[in-house]
Amino acid sequence: MKIHAFGAAKDITGSSLIDFPVEETFVKVKDLKSLLYAKYPDLTNLPSLAISVNLFYASEDTMVNKHDEVALIPPVSGG
């Protein structure tokens, strides 16, 4: 699964587009986050980490398909 990473999340993962191994075709956002936290423990230091799926904020129970556009959204700071 390709996952975009921005801002502080990009600094932690070391790349703006990470190739993240996921076994199943579908995975729940909360399970994906657990896998990400296991591989990149520093992500747990962020005040919050949202996941977007196909350009929309996803809930913890959203099912993500391997081919969806997924991104790691640390706290925003525009404006």
Binding site: H4, F6, G7, A8, K10, D11, N45, L46, P47, S52, L55, F56, Y57, A71, I73, P74, P75, V76, S77, G78, G79
Partner: protein, 138 residues
């Protein structure tokens, strides 16, 4: 309602204002965010904005639709800058035009407040000796 929603390197303030003028409107309220030289008492050298551009534009479009549903506004402009920015550079422009002024004030305030909450754009501040992503530390 006509709206202009953009993310660009340099915000053209003159053009942004021009597109808010509408013959049925009596009031235009704008908000311009600029780079400050100090944040939390630290001297800022410059800023960098990273954007998840496709999603940011979609979110800004959603906010524009919410504002249009709530207030009777005839023109709306939301522009955010990206890339490297120096002190006093404009980084965000919000503007709305309405028949009466209260609606333009309320809509513009709503748009900038919500933009700061939900639009996926990140600001990195650089000081004399280090850089940090704003809001990324508890």
């Amino acid at each position: 309602m006509d709206s202009i929603i953009k993310i660009e390197e340099v915000i053209d303030l003159g053009a942004a204002h021009q597109s808010l003028i509408h013959p049925q409107c009596g009031g235009i309220c704008t908000f311009i965010g600029t780079v400050r030289d100090l944040n939390n008492s630290k001297e800022v050298s410059h800023l960098f904005f990273e954007t998840y551009e496709k999603m940011a534009l979609l979110k800004m479009q959603e906010l524009a639709e919410e504002a249009a549903a709530r207030w009777d506004i005839h023109r709306l402009v939301m522009i955010h800058a990206k890339g490297l920015k120096q002190i006093t550079d404009p980084v965000v422009f919000i503007g709305t035009a309405s028949v009466h002024r209260a609606e333009a004030f309320e809509a513009s305030r709503y748009l900038i407040d919500r933009l700061k909450e939900v639009v996926p754009i990140w600001k990195k501040e650089t000081y004399q000796d280090h850089s940090t992503w704003i809001n990324a530390h508890p």
